[in-house]
Amino acid sequence: MSKLIEQPRYSCALGVQQTVIAIQRAVPIVHAGPGCSTKIHGLLGQGEGYAGGSTIPCTNSSESEVVFGGEKKLKGVIDGAFKVIDADLFVVLTGCTSDIVGDDVGQVTREFQNLDKPIVFAETGGFKSNNYVSHDLIIKAIIEQYVDKYAPAKGEVIPGLVNVFASIPYQDPYWIGNLQEIKRLLIGIGLTPNILFGPESGGVSEWLTVPQAEFNIVVSAWPGLRSAKLLKRKYGTPFYHFPYLPVGGLETSRFLREVTAFGASIDREKAEKFIADEERKFYTHIERTADFMLEFRYGIPRMFYTILDATYAVGFSKYLLNELGIIPAEVQYIVDDTPEQYREGIREQFRRISDRRSANVEFSVDGGEIQEKIRQTNPKQRALILGSGWERDLAADIGADLLPISVPITYRLILNCGYAGYNGGLRLIEDIYDRVLGTYR
């Protein structure tokens, strides 16, 4: 497998600045070269939010910081950030320059922490990992350096309170919509979710209740798991893991029933009533439009390719096959550089994608390679590609319909659109067939 990358679909460890921006009124302070933040924002995110993009405080490390060290410069920028930027939490992130020259960023940050300033740090030099991995690193930094210190009642568990680790903000372009739906569903079965990121969250004050959760929920193939394990170790909070994005009726109900079974404080009867009600509404739409999917005579996609991260690839594949009748191509591609230990689990999900069908999965970070392989398959049926903006020419070349799901998105503007849950499933149908029908004049 090649490690080089044509057509990147994620960022480096420092890419996690977008995770920080997604916490309401939290602001990253980047100790890195001058272009890093801008490049990350260019790939991950449309719009700078409260204080992302060109607002991000940065040391813009130059030759002199590389030669003489950048700790003094960092101190000045942190100092200025507290004066200039109106925020509840600052997160110092390092880049390649400071990590290679070995600045003691912890020491600089601790000086401010000792003055009871709301600030944490993490080493996120670009070469160290990618933003899928460092997402958990930031959560850890916030928990250990901020929540531990300021949480008012760490020992008291609040029944029904759950922390949700379900999406990497901005890396998942639909994070706001997805989190919104997951929160709605969990409230529906009687829980009080800390959704932690985005406009549906209570911001930093919500983070301070993280230790009091009855249990935690991870909705993800692998990112977020380390955070849940950390919280289990630290506070003894058990966690429930759903290893892909639940999309549509089958998987969302499965997810909610399993959560219900896991959480001791949930009223099972009420939860079941909520699920039944949601299913009824969801399947009304499917039933109402099934004749379209069966009868449209001018060609709609019969097979699909996913070029997505593991969480999306599995979730979408199950939904498309089991509820929309679109069949997976022989090979599906996963582009998130999944760590080795999680790969077998994902392969297994594809092996039993439905009761009677399986698909192969290939892990590759090199979009160019994936596209060459798909071109060679030269599909006979009309295909649907769930990929990124990079797939534009591929889709045109093989006559496929393209719905950009993975970054870089670029060809669509996303506000609160999400594909998780019952509502997300319906939205996905609308978006797929909107593109398909748009091809007829």
């Binding site: 057509q7 990147p8 990350i40 790939l43 060109s54 813009n60 130059s62 109106d86």
Partner: protein, 493 residues
């Protein structure tokens, strides 16, 4: 000042080569005086926000050479700008009726172990793969902070593979940390082109090089009438087109900030004359530029005729717009030379330019010719600009200033800046096509867009009502240059 030296692997950065700065607060006239008397001082900011870096600017030019491939020797995060440039490239293809093609850009994915053991074998492998996949006519390798600090000898690999693959494999040294002035990346890109792609001239042609970004074609009509042909470089060129830019009759720059090094390099190394005059913005600037073009191309009589015609066509309309725009106040933020040009243009329209935040300042360009000093020309022709701030894209200073100045209009040339005008309820305009305002017709184009923008207030008014401001009240009350300079102190909030 060192002359262009193609033996160097890397071009000296602008701070060293031109004495360029990124920190200054005063008036435009004062800056011109400091620049010409050689007593320019740079200010540093103890608090700063993120900027751009050289590698992005180098990539922005090289990535759109139509038959070349790019290898970015860096961790994957440095490739975050790939798709953005690919998008620009494709939009340009549409505008030029070229068939759609995706930019072929590769990243070597430098990881932790590579920073210990080196990543040259990865680089070599990536270049080979790029060659196999794309069959390009050249491959450019851009460097990064990581590859630079660990001391990768990229040149040894590119030299070896040039021989082996039989196409130029070109090292472009553009690490972000090397320069505070991200436009140094343009110089890096051009240095690599002039060094390794351009061939010595076999003959002189009637082509005129136009160093530009991705703007519309405003030169063909003019040059064709003079018996010359426009040759836009570098985006949308082919490698073979670039090989022969040494044969051109002259070089035009749409923006000396962009093209200072390439223009001088082609003149110094291959004798291609560079048009050295204020840029063609505003009437006086356009007149002067046209006459210099006429002189260099030996078409002085024809140029006078064109000037007469164009002025006659534009002047009545211009009077009309001037009357409408009289008394309008404006604040401006842009890159260096284009910023100076816009000040001239706005002044010509009768707009009161209250101030400008300009991203850096080159006291002189590589051609060392003071007649090309656009800011000097603007100040002499239109008067001084009071609030002139050299500021490398620091939004916090801009917000502070806008909050005080409250102009009728804000104009920005770069992304990430317009929001701050709009959040304060100020109609804000960003024009992506830098050729839009060029020449006599550019005055009219710009006036129309400004009137449109001033008239369109509903969106910004409502946005301002519902916007949050990430800056503290304390900050908005401070002097905007509080953090500029080595000896400024602020009280704790």
């Amino acid at each position: 000042m060192p002359k262009v030296n193609l033996n160097l692997t890397e071009v000296p950065v602008r701070e060293k080569r031109l004495g360029s700065i990124t920190g200054f607060a005063g008036t435009a006239g004062e800056l011109v005086d400091c620049s010409s008397s050689g007593c320019l001082k740079d200010g540093t900011r103890s608090f700063s926000q993120c900027m751009g870096c050289s590698s992005g600017n180098a990539f922005c030019q090289l990535s759109m050479i139509r038959d070349a491939a790019m290898v970015n020797h860096a961790p994957v995060g440095c490739a975050g700008d790939f798709f953005g440039f690919n998008f620009v490239y494709r939009v340009g293809q549409m505008e030029r009726d070229l068939p759609p093609a995706i930019g072929r850009y590769f990243n070597t994915n430098i990881e932790e172990m590579d920073t210990v053991f080196g990543a040259l074998s990865k680089l070599e492998k990536t270049i080979r793969l790029a060659y196999d996949r794309v069959k390009p006519n050249a491959i450019f390798v851009t460097t990064s902070c990581a590859s630079g600090i660990i001391g990768e000898d990229v040149e040894s690999v590119t030299d070896r593979l040039t021989k082996e693959l039989g196409i130029p494999v070109v090292n472009c040294v553009c690490e972000g940390f090397r320069s505070k002035i991200w436009t140094s990346g343009f110089d890096a890109a051009y240095h690599s082109i002039v060094r390794k792609i351009v061939k010595p001239p076999q003959k002189r042609t009637n082509k005129v090089n136009i160093i530009n970004f991705w703007g519309s074609d405003v030169f063909s009509k003019l040059l064709n009438r003079l018996g010359y042909e426009a040759n836009y470089v570098v985006p949308f060129s082919t490698v073979s087109q670039l090989e022969t830019i040494s044969e051109a009759a002259a070089t035009i720059q749409i923006c000396p900030t962009l093209g200072t090094y390439m223009g001088a390099a082609l003149e110094q190394v291959y004798g291609v004359p560079e048009i050295k005059a204020p840029m063609a913005y505003g009437l006086a600037g356009t007149d002067a530029w046209m006459r210099e073009l006429g002189r260099v191309l030996d078409r002085e009589a024809e140029i006078e005729e064109i000037i007469r015609e164009e002025r006659a066509a534009v002047l009545p309309k211009l009077e009309e717009y001037r009357a409408k725009l009289k008394g309008t106040t404006c604040y401006l933020t842009a890159g260096s030379a284009h910023g100076h040009a816009l000040i001239a243009l706005l002044s010509e329209l009768g707009i009161d330019v209250q101030g400008a935040a300009i991203f850096h300042h080159d006291p002189i360009y590589d051609n060392e010719d003071t007649s090309a000093d656009m800011l000097d020309h603007t100040v002499k022709t239109y008067g001084d600009i009071k609030g002139y701030n050299v500021c490398n894209k620091q939004a916090y200073e801009l917000v502070n200033i806008l909050n005080r100045v409250r102009p009728d209009l804000m104009i920005a040339r770069h992304g990430g800046m317009t929001l701050w005008g709009a959040k304060l309820g100020i109609p804000t305009l960003l024009i992506g096509d830098e050729h839009f305002s060029w020449g006599y017709q550019g005055l009219i184009n710009y006036a129309e867009r400004i009137l449109e923008t001033l008239d369109n207030r509903e969106f910004v008014t409502n946005l301002a009502k519902h916007s949050s401001m990430p800056y503290t009240k304390w900050w908005l009350e401070q002097d905007p240059y509080t953090f500029l300079g080595g000896n400024t102190h602020v009280k704790t909030y």
